[in-house]
Structure formats: C-alpha cells, structure tokens
C-alpha cells in the first residue's frame, strides 16, 4: 500500500524551511486562486507560477508525476470525451464523423492544467513538510477557534496519532489478508456482494486489533501524564522566519496578478 500524496522528502529548499502554517495558507490560497482562473492568460500565468515554485522546492519531477498517476486515467477519459462530444464553432479537424473543435481542445488543456496545478500545489506541502509539522500547523491555525470551544489541540493530536498508525494498519491488513488466504479465503470473486462479504474475515480482525491498539495507546498516553492540551509545553515551536515572508510575498504577488487580470486588464 503506497500513499503517494504525503510522503515527506527531506530537503533544504525555501519550501522545506518555511513554517508549516505559511505552507498550509499558501496551499489553500493557491487552490482557491487556481480555481478562480478562467481565461487562457490567467491559466498561463498560474502554470508558470506553479512551475517556478515547484523548481524552487527541489522536489524531483518523478515524485510529482507519481502523485499524478491516480488521476491520469480520469484526465485522459475526460479529455477524450471533451474532444469528441464538445460542440464549438471552429472545427480543427475531423476523426470519421466526429468533429474536433478548437474550443474543445482549449477546454481540455485548461482542465488538465487545473488538475495538474492543484495536485502540484498540494503535493508541495506534503512533500516538503513532515506530518508532525502539518498537524502542528493545523493546530496553530485552528487555535483562534478555541473561543467557540473548538478542540483544536485534540483534533491535531488525533490526526497525528492517526498518521502514525497508517503504515502499521497497512502492514496489519496485508498480514491478515495473507493469513486468511492461507486458510482458504477467496478475495477475487467477481460478484460485488460476494467480494464485500469476503472481506469480513479481514475487517473484523482489523477492527478488533485497532480497538485494542487504541485502548493500549490511551493507557500508555495516560501513564505518560497526558491530560489534554492544558498546561502543555511544545518541543517544536513554530517560528515565522524570512522564508515565510518570501513565501507569503510570492503568494501575494500571484494573487494580485490574478485579481488584476480579472478586474483591470480583463484578460
């Protein structure tokens, strides 16, 4: 089991050094503005911008391509549908009785770029930030919500423990599937209902194990004096540095660019 979105790759880039909070904000802002892009010039600018940031991060291209793989099929299918069925005004060329329109081509390119940019932006966060840092960042960002009794610390703690358990459960699932196959279980049934039913011997032990782990874990945490967020100090303190400033300035430039294009230049 491999989770491609979210494997931290150590590095020394501006992105790696920046505070997780700025990176989380960056990611969210980027996503919103990418979705706001409509015209080809806006797309062009966004793409160039994302590519520049990507180059700064120093993440090898193959990792980005890896995170694109799961959506590649979806992208190809929608592109084909767009090209074949979308009716525009200018015919580019014809395949048999189907006309491929200029507008369809642009639409497809835009769609591909949009998905590409969204995934690259999100991957940049997860590839340059440890899961601990991400949860820390989320905790800090959610902190103001404590006023409305929002349990920011508890949620961040839950997330970080969940992240720690993921590889363990992946191993455990693999082991249980193997053990039940050895006993003669069948997992490759064609029938959907049978298929779901065939996973009962995997799911029950997995849940029983997970509950046991959770119980053990809560006892272990309690015995190490855990009592919620109150009175806790932090080993890793988040600091706003010049890297964050640079990152936020870059983001601001991009956002201003998009806004200007949309309102003043109208391109």
């Amino acid at each position: 089991m491999r989770i491609s979105l979210g494997r931290y790759i150590p590095g020394k880039s501006l992105f790696h050094k920046a505070d997780p909070r700025s990176k989380i904000i960056w990611t969210i802002v980027m996503m919103v503005f990418i979705l706001l892009c409509t015209t080809r010039w806006q797309y062009l600018m966004a793409t160039v911008f994302v590519m520049i940031v990507f180059l700064i991060s120093g993440i090898p291209l193959k990792y980005i391509l890896k995170s694109l793989r799961p959506v590649a099929v979806l992208m190809i299918i929608t592109t084909v549908f767009n090209l074949v069925f979308y009716k525009g005004t200018t015919v580019l060329f014809a395949i048999g009785s189907f006309n491929v329109y200029r507008e369809a081509l642009f639409l497809s390119i835009k769609m591909i770029l949009r998905i590409f940019m969204l995934i690259v932006s999100a991957s940049l966060l997860t590839y340059t930030t440890t899961s601990v840092a991400i949860t820390d960042g989320i905790e800090y960002l959610l902190r103001p919500l404590a006023i409305i009794k929002f349990p920011a610390h508890e949620i961040a703690m839950m997330m970080s423990i969940a992240l720690r358990f993921i590889p363990m459960f992946a191993d455990e699932t693999d082991k249980i599937i193997k053990a039940q196959s050895s006993r003669g279980a069948e997992f490759d049934s064609k029938n959907v209902f049978k298929k779901i039913k065939s996973y009962v011997p995997v799911l029950i032990p997995l849940f029983v194990g997970a509950f046991k782990s959770a119980e053990d874990m809560s006892v272990a945490m309690e015995s190490r004096c855990y009592r919620g967020g109150k009175g806790r100090t932090k080993f890793k303190v988040l600091k706003f540095t010049k890297y964050d400033l640079i990152l936020l300035i870059i983001t601001a430039v991009f956002c201003t660019g998009v806004i200007l294009m949309k309102t003043v230049f109208k391109i």
Binding site: I176, A179, S182, R183, G184, A185, I204, P205
Partner: protein, 284 residues
C-alpha cells in the same frame, strides 16, 4: 514425497528505496514426517521463506515443488489445502461468531456435506486439545492460550500434510509454551510434517528433528540439532545462540579442561552428570 525449493530468489519491494534481496540461491528439501525448525536472526528471511512454500509470495526466479508438483497460480488453492500455515499470533485472525464456525471457515469453499464439516472440526479440536464445550462459545470470550489453539484448529481443519508455524510459542507463558512444543510432537506423530520458526534455542533442541539456519536470505547450515548446536562460533557470529545447557557444558569443559560430549538437551545433561558423579565427580 517432500517439499522442494529450488534456486529461489526473491527481492522485497523492487524499484523502491526499500529494495532488499530477501532470499537468494535458496535450495531446501523438507522431508515428510519430520519436525523441522527454521532459525535465523530477525529479518533473515524466515517468514519470507514460509510464505513461498504456500504461494503467498512468488519467487522472482526458481521453483517450489510440493510432492513433486510445481506450485503455480493455478494449483494454489489445492496446494494450500495440503500446506497449513499458522501465522505468528494467529489468534489475531479469529473473527467468526463461534469457535466452531471459525474453525470451519477454511472448509467453506470445499462445499463439504455438513456431517463431514462437523467431523473435521471435531477431529481438529480433539487433536489440538480444544474441549468440545468451547465450540459454541464466542471466539472473543476465550483466554489467550485457548484462542491460539482454536486458530491452529482452523488451519488443521483442511487436513494439511504439512504444517508451518511461525513462532507458535511467542507470548505464551512457560506452561503454554511447553504445551505448544508437545503439540508439535503430537502433530508429527499424527503424520503431519511440522515446520516451525523459533528464536528459542532450548525449544529447538528439545523439539526439532532437523534444523535449518537462515541468514541474510540464504540457508547457511542444515542438520540435526546436535550438528547445528556444536557450531557455537558460527551461530554467535550471526547473532544466534546455542541452548543454555549446551552453553553450560561448554563453559564447564573450558574451565575444567575435561572433554565433554555435545549435550543439547536437559535429559542429556542430566544423564551425563549423573554418570560422572557415579564415577566419582568432576575432576578439576
């Protein structure tokens, strides 16, 4: 009739940073009717080897033969009937409402008549020593030791000719552990070939007919426990040890300069010392 592994090579997670040659140049024959112990340091490939024997893992190259028949994708199910595999902590895989149903799980695909299923479950329970009044209980109501026995029944129910157990005694208290070791002998006496993984050299010396030492994905030694446990330097070189009794007599021999025959079990040690004392004690 036997299990044969020929020139097995297996690489773990090829093409990733975690790539590791898990097994290489591996030849092994497991003869019918023996208790074979598989020993080796953690991460040496013991479990990977077991998983090749029942086709859970497929070798990159090389073949596995079960009673002369090569293991392929097609005969996988048939061969797994022949080769039982008890995972480490097998009790973690129990899931049915009742002990009976859990034991019978392995028979579901065979579509056997009900009385045959019943007979097989009872046979397995009797062999392993699971009492009949447990059969209608929930699997989650049993004690740890009982659960492990039930899990073993669930593997035996297909009447395997070969039974592989990955550290069957781990986590058990001494009483449970000794009972488990006796059980392995019971299986052998019932005509089942037993292959077990263990870290406890005392247990291996007391139980196994033959020992295979695996290190770094290769089989480095095989032989009777006596042959293996005389190679103290080799074993400690790869991070293994010899039985405590063997170690004790080696120390005694070193200190006294007296030549002492290889002793690997408590019975042998006792017989030797009794003999020496009857002749007037250890000369120092």
């Amino acid at each position: 009739m036997s299990i044969k592994l020929e020139d097995i090579k297996y690489t773990y997670m090829p093409g990733t940073p975690f790539e590791k040659v898990a097994l290489s140049d591996l030849y092994l024959e497991i003869r019918e009717g023996e208790i074979l112990a598989l020993i080796g340091p953690t991460g040496s490939g013991k479990t990977t080897l077991l998983q090749h024997i029942n086709g859970l893992l497929r070798p990159d190259s090389g073949s596995v033969f079960i009673d002369g028949e090569e293991l392929t994708k097609k005969n996988l199910f048939k061969i797994r009937q022949k080769i039982g595999y008890v995972f480490q902590y097998p009790e973690q895989q129990l899931f049915e409402e009742t002990v009976f149903k859990d034991i019978a799980f392995g028979l579901n695909r065979l579509k056997l008549p009900e009385d045959e299923v019943r007979a097989r479950v009872y046979d397995a329970a009797r062999l392993v020593g699971v009492s009949e009044n447990l059969l209608e209980r929930s699997v989650f109501d049993l004690s740890g030791g009982e659960k492990r026995r039930v899990a073993i029944c669930g593997v035996l129910v297909t009447k395997p000719k070969y039974l592989m157990l990955d550290e069957p005694a781990s986590g058990l208290d001494p009483e449970g552990k000794n009972a488990m070791l006796r059980l392995l002998k019971t299986f052998r006496d019932a005509g089942i070939t037993v292959i077990f993984v263990s870290h406890n050299m005392n247990d291996v010396a007391e139980t196994a007919d033959r020992v295979v030492v695996i290190n770094d994905g290769r089989i480095e030694r095989q032989g009777t426990p006596r042959e293996i446990f005389t190679e103290h330097d080799f074993l400690s070189g790869i991070g293994l040890s010899v039985p405590d009794v063997t170690d004790f007599f080696r120390l005694l021999s070193e200190r006294t300069g007296v030549e002492i025959p290889d002793i690997i079990t408590l019975d042998e040690g006792y017989a030797y010392l009794r003999d020496v004392y009857s002749k007037g004690g250890i000369p120092s």
